[in-house]
């Protein structure tokens, strides 16, 4: 299987293209062959940007009329594949709708999915994926066998996004077959939680708190420190599950993947599921009162101490400088 044609699922965040989809387009472009985007909603608005990232065509599933993207996009792609337009690879963002699309498409074309992909290279006769396993201590490489397109669900920050110099992509309507019962779910309302400051997965500095903070109120120390460093505030899943902070702050396997210049972990033990989301940060600082905490094994600077003593002094010192 050489890679002649790649489809990239182009997801949105508000009016913008989701950063992860730009990462995927960049990677697809570097693999050679033709790159085509697949999107829904208003495709014209993003055709120029998708084109600059290397896609020649932008297939548009169109208005979803309140439906979820999963069933409609998967059915439209399966129909196109059935009509003889199969690509060699389909790159899907590892996010809510991406996983739905990949799962449904997988059944429709009877091909398995490779998920949690963090690396992708051409290796002579096709693509080889990389997956971080056991908290990122080991790298597993895998590939598809047999005939048919490979479906790759790729995690954020696996590749850098870089615009190229391509002209606008040609928008082409993609017909959605009758979805029957599978298309039944409808969005009746959207709730957006406003957040200030840089986004967690884009911030150069991330300060995260864990159960070691002791109680919900103490999370304000994390927010203060993040603000002083012009960064974003993150969290371990333990305190998200406890309801101290919203899920959007969660770093790790089931949360965000971050790669800031510096990651400061306060009162976080360093479970494998947390580390896999932050261990590729350029610098890591950890504060934990337990000398044996696993987080210290990946820290560039580890402070064995009480967050309630270290953080207030750190915040004071930074305030004094600004």
């Amino acid at each position: 299987m050489t890679v002649n044609k790649i489809w990239v699922i182009v997801d949105r965040q508000g009016d913008k293209i989701a950063p992860l989809s730009l990462e995927l387009l960049t990677k697809a472009r570097s693999l050679g062959g033709t790159v085509e985007g697949v999107t829904w909603g208003d495709a014209d608005a993003i055709a120029a940007e998708v084109g600059s990232y290397g896609a020649t065509t932008l297939h548009n599933v169109g208005d979803l009329a309140g439906g979820l993207p999963g069933p409609a996009v998967a059915a439209a792609l399966a129909a196109a594949i059935g009509a003889g337009n199969a690509p060699d690879a389909i790159l899907v963002p590892h996010n809510y709708d991406g996983r739905d699309i990949a799962a449904r498409l997988s059944v429709k074309i009877d091909r398995p999915v490779l998920t949690n992909v963090v690396g992708l290279e051409e290796a002579g006769d096709g693509l080889v994926t990389e997956h971080a396993i056991f908290g990122g201590t080991e790298v597993l490489k895998a590939r598809f066998t047999g005939e048919g397109p490979g479906i790759y669900v790729v995690r954020t920050k696996s590749f850098a996004a870089e615009a190229g110099d391509g002209g606008p992509a040609t928008v082409s309507a993609l017909e959605v077959p009758d979805l029957g019962a599978t298309g039944g779910a409808k969005i009746t309302d959207r709730h957006v939680e406003e957040s200030e400051g840089p986004k967690l997965d884009e911030a150069p500095v991330v300060v995260s708190g864990g159960r070691g903070l002791g109680e919900a109120d103490k999370y304000s120390m994390i927010e203060d420190l993040a603000k002083l460093l012009k960064g974003a505030a993150g969290a371990s899943r333990a305190i998200v599950d406890a309801g101290w902070v919203p899920y959007s702050h969660q770093v790790g396997q089931t949360g965000k993947t971050v790669k800031p210049t510096v990651y400061i972990a306060a009162g976080i033990s360093g479970a494998t599921q947390h580390m896999v989301g932050m261990k590729n940060s350029k610098n890591i600082v950890a504060i934990n009162k337990d000398q044996e905490a696993p987080i210290f094994s990946i820290a560039d600077l580890g402070i064995v101490g009480d967050v309630h003593k270290v953080l207030p002094k750190l915040i004071e010192a930074l305030k004094a400088r600004s």
């Binding site: 809510y96 999915v113 599978t182 210290f296």
Partner: protein, 259 residues
Amino acid sequence: MNVVVCVKQIPDPANPGKLTSETHTIVRDGKLILDDSDAYGVEMALQLVDAAGGGEVTLVSMAPHSETSGLRTALAMGAAKAILVSDDALAGSDALSTAKVLAAAIKRAEPDLVIAATESTDGYTGTTPVQVAEVLGWPSISFAKKVAVADGTVKVDRQTETGYDSVEVSLPALVTVTAGVVEPRYPSFKGIMAAKGKPVEELKVTDLGLEPGQVGAAGARQEVVSVEPAEARKAGEIVVDEGDGYEKIVAFLEQIKVI
């Protein structure tokens, strides 16, 4: 209302996992336990059946060696019965094969609603449940942080990047739940005793009308190329705070030019 919960039985995550050197599949010797991620689904299902004022919760699991330890935990929480698919032919199954098997088993229970976790602890492909829905030809709502059923409609708060969407669909449907959707109960002593007598129907691949060649390693169309240690981070400086820990952090941030 009848609800099926897909429950995965996994090696204890407290013991670091291992891959077999030949096939690179996860070693599943020893006793398996109920995946924590699925305890939320079991609790959710019990609460929904309660609220509906009738019906029962059936567990569906695919696991090696006729494993029932994890199922007993979920039965002790209050599920009525279980269907276990266990067959040597299933070793090495990928998520798609697993979904075909689970879907075939689910059909036998004729549920109104199927609940699964957004992702499992050991495999975390996160695709199995929606693949099950597609095999069944059903709608699905993934990433539920709140679930309610009324008048044959399931209403879900579905997590999004920036908050949540209210999404609804007529039954039958499949929903995947996140951790934190409900607080799973601990099995009571009475529950544990009662679980011992609850029915667990064990099935083979052929009982489900599937061909052994379609599932397990025989049906897998992906392969592991290699497993290697990741590049290790070089060890850093670990210091005990003597009241000056914050100064070390300030100095470090200066050194890397963050401040």
